[in-house]
Symmetry: C2
Subunit: 719 residues, 2 copies
Amino acid sequence: MGWNAERARRSASLSDMTDRPTPTGLDALFSPRAVAVIGASREPHTIGREILENLIAAGFQGPIFPVNPKAAWVNSLKCYPSVTAIPDPIDLAVIVVPFPHVAGVLRECGEKGIGGAVIISNGFKEVGGEGIAREEELLEIAAEFGIRLIGPNCMGILNTDPAIALNASFAKARPTHGTVGFMSQSGALGETILNVAEELALGLAQFVSLGNMADVDGLDLLEAWGKNPDIKLIMMYLEQLTDPHRFLEIASKVTRHKPVVVVKAGRSPQGARAVASHTGSLAGSDVGRFHLFEQCGVLRAERMEELFDIGRLLVSQPLPRGNRVGIVTNSGGPGILATDALIASGLQVPPLSQRTKDALRMRVPSGASLNNPVDLTAGASSAQFRMAIEALLADPLIDILMVVFISPIMLNATEVAEYIIQGAGVTEKPVLTVFMNERQGESAVKKLQEAGIPNYRFPESAARSVSSLVWYADYLGQPAGKYAHFPFDAAAIKTQLALAGEDGWLPFDAAMDVLELCGIPTVQSRFLIDGDAPPPSGSYPVVLKTISPKLQHKSDAGGVVVGISDADSWHAALSAMHGRLAAIGLLRADYRILEQEQVQKGEEIIIGVSREESLGHLIMFGLGGTTVEVLKDVVFRLQPLTDLEAARMIREIAGLPLLTGFRGRIPSDLDFAEELLLRISALLDLCPEIIEMDLNPFILTDSGATSRAVDVRLRVDVG
Amino acid sequence: MGWNAERARRSASLSDMTDRPTPTGLDALFSPRAVAVIGASREPHTIGREILENLIAAGFQGPIFPVNPKAAWVNSLKCYPSVTAIPDPIDLAVIVVPFPHVAGVLRECGEKGIGGAVIISNGFKEVGGEGIAREEELLEIAAEFGIRLIGPNCMGILNTDPAIALNASFAKARPTHGTVGFMSQSGALGETILNVAEELALGLAQFVSLGNMADVDGLDLLEAWGKNPDIKLIMMYLEQLTDPHRFLEIASKVTRHKPVVVVKAGRSPQGARAVASHTGSLAGSDVGRFHLFEQCGVLRAERMEELFDIGRLLVSQPLPRGNRVGIVTNSGGPGILATDALIASGLQVPPLSQRTKDALRMRVPSGASLNNPVDLTAGASSAQFRMAIEALLADPLIDILMVVFISPIMLNATEVAEYIIQGAGVTEKPVLTVFMNERQGESAVKKLQEAGIPNYRFPESAARSVSSLVWYADYLGQPAGKYAHFPFDAAAIKTQLALAGEDGWLPFDAAMDVLELCGIPTVQSRFLIDGDAPPPSGSYPVVLKTISPKLQHKSDAGGVVVGISDADSWHAALSAMHGRLAAIGLLRADYRILEQEQVQKGEEIIIGVSREESLGHLIMFGLGGTTVEVLKDVVFRLQPLTDLEAARMIREIAGLPLLTGFRGRIPSDLDFAEELLLRISALLDLCPEIIEMDLNPFILTDSGATSRAVDVRLRVDVG
């Protein structure tokens, strides 16, 4: 295949690999000078044999040493009884022996000075029990000798660099050499991934089956590939995100330089979750994952097919300057399907410039449509296709060109493909094709693939891929966002958090104090003790609220009085309330009365926090009030928030018009709302022990100066 | 291919087709005894030649007569100068001559007594202008002679019945004989459809490229195919729905007997629409289309790939009794992807029964997982696969079996495929597979296809298809729904509608009267004339409202007073209101005062109507009030509504809990709300001239007896 041929061409000019200095770190794994296969075997249908054969077939640029005490040679290669018996230096060991022997073999590798090991063998952490201990033992040995490990329980690794040509895996596929780094948390899926990559001519630079990730994990690779100039696109199949914060940190850096596309598998939590806050009950962990990727510029594919669809476009085409797609087609139906799908993905299919229309009008078949899509009809010649392609690529109102083509009898598909390739060669705009009749157009599609123009069988997947390309271009066009820092009094906050009860909940006053310490304004509040005097004049109007575990909906039971405007009404309201509560059977010991200043009219919002297992803190923003509580108009982000993310969150709620002056309302102070979110984010930085938190409601007015938190619930992790 | 071979086998036993009686109606098109190709040609790369070759290659079971005045023979067949020169009876003419000649040729067909014509030629309605007149001429000739037409501007038709073996198209593909009826409004896409059907071994019974649908349209075919016992599944690619009501009527009947799957292309309305009602502005025409399909049991595919994915499952597998999917796999990752996708589609992947688990436990590889998905791990033998397949098919807690398989080195994929085929042979449950490595498993996948077990490359598309299967089974499990009839006084209603102004809007009183005439309760209302007396005691409380085109938001301007409890407060409120209005500069002539009874506390709902071009009336239901207006919590259905659809609409809004007793609220009378929707539907039946209508708000209480329409806007079509 591609990389082998290239290697053959180059190998004459390569200096002997063994002259290279000893590779260190991950380089021992991916750029070894010599490889040992420990557990190599002559038996057909064994992994030990497949790996050896793959290494040889790929034309590894260095010597390969099989190790097997029971054989003198394997595949015409001299076989050694142990790795220490090999006289030459070895950088990479591929270990395929049964699990009871792996630790011993790895120790020998260490003694031999081998820097990298790919452990294919299974029977470790993935089986639980003793397997966990066995895996820890491997890590200890690796640490002792400084060996970097891939696996155990993996399918192996590939590096298609012609100067290395390493296929240390038991996959049968032979991917083309290219610029994609692909990692998979599923070994079994790895085989399929390599197959599909080969079929679609998606050229790979490196492939890694991550296995149990005892040592090298996906983030180590992401970081390394981020810095590797031979890798232009990183594709990942993930099952677990072990450290979302590290992911956020590393991926944010990598995506500034190259695109990252992820498929994330992971069963939705099926069991019940014990949560007491609104935020907790609204937060599904999938919500968080989604935003995790979005926050750091990672493209998320919804399904495996999409991963490849998006990847093929990203790796081959430049980023567009806008979202305006021009379509050239010779068939109405597929043109409509493409337009539908593009518009559904938020892209534009705008009218062409007058100049383009004029240029086209003279030279297209009669009956052709000059609107976008440009439908040349079935009667179009390949010369007319060429002209339309050139005209659209030259149109300043078009950012992206999609050619949707059905092979009619009278038209040479290969010729059309060649014109597309010519057009793409002289433009900075991304070009992609939908040649729908692959049967007839096989050679045309092959030509396009070889020229790096991605072809799609149906317009919908092409459209979906374009939307990812545009999203990523948009992401890169935006500033990175900044984290805010606030001079919180950490000691004072921790003192308040220490007041949490056995269940972790903070008393109301303490929770309100935490807010104040974070610079978040709260309403003046006090719990009344019998005999307390009314507030002094100047403090009115105030509100009295009954707080009782026995009274769920206090307003309904007459447990709230608002608009108390002076001392007399205060006395009257208080005694009337006691009376009503007594009438419904509440004892005086059952409840407390909270007195609060009455907040100026504003919109009820809710800000919440929920700490999710394996995700960290989610921060929620939404509208408050009963109606909205039912309609769940809330958005989530993973902590920490940048100023840009905070601003985006607020603008993403459906009810935004209620905060921006709808029907003559006074517009709320959204800058202040952003600041609130950033203050909460900073609090969580300081106090990760916070498990859940609701500011519900927070009354947001037209100014931060009069906005107030009215109620807060806050729970910390008490072990 | 399949049907040709079958034909060859059968042809000996077939009686001579020309002995059959003359076919009539659509049968002349699809079951002709003899075919004439008018415009047959010897020129390569012409449609006239391709069609003739296709007819011959498919082995048409009858004589084929080329017609071309310039040739004595074509493709070794004697050629005739005109169709009237053919001595034998002809049932079907395929017309490929340029458009100026089509009418003349069609007339000759009529004179010859030909019952059906497929007109391939273009240059008719699709080009506008004179083309429209040309197409009308064709229709007149067809009517004169009783010819049924397919086209013009189409790709042709196929009937793979071995007793007919008709390929009257210029498509190159050779689909397998089967039980699918496929129609396409796009000719160009037809070629791709036939290609893909062939690749996926989706057996077709008939295929029709509809073209301009001058005579036979998609609904004629839908109706005919619905009655055709050889067709088990109908698949459609649609661009326009010319008569949604006829679609609803015909499809509702057909889907009771066989599934119908549709891809609907159609550009979203990009232009601005002039609408004045809430309902009109909320109704996108796509909303209506979506529910059109859902209302009549038609499955809608979102994209072309999905159309085939769903079709393959529906045509080959029985309907499930429930939505519980059992997964057997030899690989964790793909198992997770499948589970994710199934759960995201609303299906269940439940735990297996204890008995199944016990049966499995003894015989699976160590490390296998007995939860659902059953992960047999890469070490599983094909015998273990067999056992797991049998156990899951026997489990009463599982309705559907999905086998997700990755070919490992040591396992024979074909053997596993055989066990799946055996299992599927003795169960009533649907079975489908995801063999991911098509390369290695090619022969296994072929075996599965031949046995009618659909295979998918990736688990996500398999899951999506299962959800369609389950949706259709659910649909069939529900009663059909009934239309309600109400004894409306049609004359009285029409009298009120006749009061519409030039712009079509009804005066407030007339609109309220229409509601009352439909049995929809409205609040007592009167417009006050200066000097009017207050309402008599017993009528309180009442509300006063300012009605003025100059006062958009009357509450904000003090133009509304509620809770007026006696004559004195009435006088006071009225004069204060006049004062406030004068203060903001309103003249007495600028406004009127509406007095209304104050409705008992209830929930504000909105019921609306919008007549959409090419769709008919949409009926909307949703929550009222400002917040909800912003959040757009509304649902739509196409008129007419059945009782079941009305009930479903109400239950689909996100804010349903607000109507069902959330937080101690009094539950609203939802039966009455259903009745309201049915009454509106019946009104539209009677008065299709209604263009838009909003009951906003309608106050829905805990009883129909106290629920009231407070405001209504109603506009009729005044030409």
